[in-house]
């Protein structure tokens, strides 16, 4: 089961293991991580599942869709080059060990 580590805005870390096919957003919800709100449940309609993904993980992610890119213009915390929507990051062997950083605010 791939492992994912969440780094909260205050620096605290939480790691969880989830089966392949679960999104990073769902992993956060299953683990009760407060820094991800995910108001739309993964439909790319809320931008409240915003995360920053540093290398080496960023370049392992599939390319962003047009909708994800548009939605990232609506984030409350600043959009950076490393910004992604965690509902669009699906766990699998290639992403085992991924770390994502949570922004200061989602709403």
């Amino acid at each position: 089961m791939p492992k994912v580590t969440f780094v909260a805005h205050d620096g605290s870390k939480t790691s969880v293991d989830e089966p392949d096919g679960v999104s990073v957003m769902q992993a956060a919800q299953n683990a009760g991580i407060g820094g991800i709100v995910a108001e739309c449940g993964g439909s790319m309609m809320c931008a409240t599942c915003h995360v920053y993904v540093a290398e080496p993980w960023l370049s392992k992610l599939p390319a962003m869709t047009a909708t994800e890119s548009e939605m990232l213009t609506m984030t409350v915390s600043e959009r950076r080059g490393t910004s992604r929507l965690s509902c669009q990051i699906v766990l699998g062997a290639a992403l085992d060990g991924i770390t994502v950083e949570l922004p200061e605010k989602q709403i």
């Binding site: 439909s43 409240t48 047009a66």
Partner: protein
């Protein structure tokens, strides 16, 4: 139930007519029957497949490459028959056409872009609640669901006040057209009159209030993301898809809580669960029940080989009550983990109006709960006889201060 000895299409067959008034009014009995019959059922009357269970319904909605929307999400196959109107630019389009439109309209209808509307919705909800507490006995369809949604939603789109009942006639017909061309559909067409041209006129830029959602679609034209011809059609899709559905959701929510007072008590005690409770309403009484996909090639589903260019029917009301997916599916339980319900669809075509319809419903339910209002059903209710929507035409209720 005529069941062919040898299934003609590799799937069990049924001669049921899901679009007969009798089955429309009692959906959960025939959903159960179909789910038990098979994962994929051949409907002899409509010569199409039907996937009544959650797993296959989800698989179909998720796999937009095998199951196309561009041939229409109704029973009519646009590859074989001319569509009755220009197909919807979002709902009835596949990638790549769908993609840029979805991106731009998705941003306009996204939660962050809608936050400015919350306080206005709250004002309207409270006005309505004041009125309800005075009147006490009302028919909640016209006096709550329609009154509230026809006020706040077209205001948010930027449509001028007046003649808003026309929006209901239009929406009713559009959603009936996703079913077969039966008497129900014919009647909604007869009722339509001159509403078609009226609505197109309302969707022109000059008639939309600056800064509101409709105007924002036209602003995307200046940005070059969509064309000037596409803008009014996209605005019209808000009006056709966003009114009846949300009105039905409000009515279904009121009925679900009124008939399950313990669940309403939980919401009154903790308004933090309103969002989740509304998701349970969408699972339990899904307003938009039936739609179709068309296979783009031979596809194997649940062990059945479906040839290309065949219609496959989905019923998300049935998927949302499949006991293979949900524990005690026929119980309305605001505490359940309702994630994964398909009341708003899923994937690239997932309802693009989901955040505004949620906002409308959440605000109304939150204000009712915050003010400790109780409501009960006081007389016989009537469901609409509609090809694809589930909601009330009559819902007598009494509202009182709890």
């Amino acid at each position: 139930m005529a069941q062919d000895a040898a299934p003609p299409r590799g799937a069990p067959a049924s001669d049921i007519d899901p679009f007969s008034p009798q089955h429309i009014l009692n959906p959960y009995a025939w959903h159960h029957e179909m789910r038990e019959l098979g994962a994929l059922v051949w409907l002899t009357k409509y010569r199409c497949f039907f996937a009544p269970r959650y797993a296959e319904a989800f698989q179909i909605i998720a796999d937009y490459q095998s199951f196309s929307s561009a041939a229409g999400v109704g029973h009519t196959n646009f590859n074989k028959e001319k569509p009755w109107r220009q197909p919807s630019m979002l709902l009835e389009a596949d990638p790549p056409d769908h993609t840029p439109r979805r991106a731009i309209v998705g941003r306009i209808l996204s939660a962050p872009n809608l936050r400015v509307f919350r306080s206005g919705f709250e004002v309207e909800a409270n006005r309505l609640i004041d009125r309800l507490l005075q009147q006490r006995d009302v028919d909640a369809v016209p006096e709550v669901a329609q009154a509230y949604v026809l006020k706040v939603f077209p205001d948010a789109v930027g449509i001028a006040d007046g003649d808003r009942m026309n929006l209901l006639k239009y929406g009713t017909m559009v959603f009936n057209a996703f079913g077969p061309q039966n008497d129900i559909f014919d009647e909604s067409v007869r009722d339509l009159g001159e509403v078609g041209p009226w609505i197109m006129e309302r969707c022109q830029h000059r008639n939309l209030e600056p800064g509101k959602l409709g105007d924002q679609v036209y602003q995307a034209v200046s940005g070059g993301q969509i064309t000037a011809e596409e803008a009014p059609i996209l605005v019209r899709s808000f009006l056709s898809a966003g009114v009846d559905t949300t009105i039905d959701a409000v009515g279904n929510a009121l009925w679900s809580f009124a008939t399950n007072p313990a669940e309403w008590a939980k919401v009154k005690a903790n308004q933090g669960i309103v969002k989740q409770a509304f998701e349970e309403v969408l699972r339990y009484e899904s307003p938009f029940q039936t739609f179709f996909r068309t296979t783009t090639k031979d596809v194997e589903l649940a062990g059945v080989k479906i040839p290309g260019n065949e219609k496959v029917m989905l019923n998300i009301g049935s998927a949302n009550r499949d006991p293979r997916k949900w524990e005690r599916p026929d119980v309305f339980d605001v505490s359940r983990d309702v994630r994964g319900h398909v009341g708003l669809g899923y994937g690239i075509h997932a309802c693009i109006g989901q955040m505004i319809s949620r906002l409308e419903n959440e605000v109304l339910l939150t204000e009712l709960a915050r003010r400790k209002v109780d409501f009960e059903v006081t007389g016989p209710t009537e469901y609409k006889v509609h090809n694809t929507l589930r909601g009330f035409t009559k819902l007598p209720m009494r509202f009182k201060q709890g």
